[in-house]
Subunit: 146 residues, 2 copies
């Protein structure tokens, strides 16, 4: 599943996107120091873990990315939950609605998997961004560092 809006196409990532600036887009979020081979290994490991990484492509460059993990659950009688992770837009492509397009694309993917809910953790500063898309404040995210 992919869609195209005004020159932006959104589709599943493949390994060749590492040569189209994929990591540069993701660096908008956090530092990344990976060799090309290490990045390919992470990509493969994520595929095996069924993490779906999507990319927004403009003129054959990666403008943004967002990922989703589909979690089949016993509770709610086999309900399926979508977990959104790592939404990032390259600094050179921000303020063009690409983040919103990516998240809305993931929501459509989750609908195809019959998810009953989609959840994510975010910093206070981006709550309004997600509220505009239709998310509401839910539980408290807790963290422990190992």
């Amino acid at each position: 599943m992919s869609h195209e809006t005004s020159g932006i196409s959104i589709r599943l990532m493949d390994a060749t996107d590492l040569g189209r600036g994929f990591l540069d887009a993701l660096r908008a979020l956090k530092p990344i120091e990976l060799t090309e081979q290490q990045a390919i290994d992470v990509y493969r490991d994520r595929l095996k873990s069924r993490i779906r990484t999507y990319v927004a492509v403009i003129d054959d460059r990666i403008a943004g990315t967002a990922s989703v993990f589909i979690e089949p659950k016993f509770i709610n009688s086999g309900g399926v939950v979508g977990h959104i992770e790592d939404v990032a837009v390259h600094p050179g492509f921000q303020k063009h609605g690409i983040g919103r397009l990516l998240v809305e694309h993931l929501l459509n993917v989750c609908r195809e998997f019959h998810c009953y809910k989609v959840i994510l953790d975010c910093a206070e500063g981006v709550i309004p961004f997600y509220e505009k898309i239709g998310f509401h404040r839910w539980e408290r995210a807790m963290r422990i560092d190992l």
Copy 2:
């Protein structure tokens, strides 16, 4: 990896645990209406998605369960994150520290996978339970219903 404390053993779930009251323990959390075959299908789908479901066993009965998903990431240079889900203790076995044993077991599993952090979403009421184990309040969990 499994460990045993005062008659409680904690280990990875297998399909035969469905006959040891696994779903009854999980019902402490949410309603579940699944036939045995449907539950086996969910179990297999979770295995394929690399979700690790652990059980606390007392006298060959499932007293509690907790799950963890290990997420390999590009960010933080290939850092790995543990996601804890669906911590539940059977009403007949509560107030014996089984929940804490389960969560601490998952933290050890996450250490083996070299996770740099472990996160979970929880209701306000159980924040003190997780704080006692060493978790701290982090981001805001957001949700959308599909």
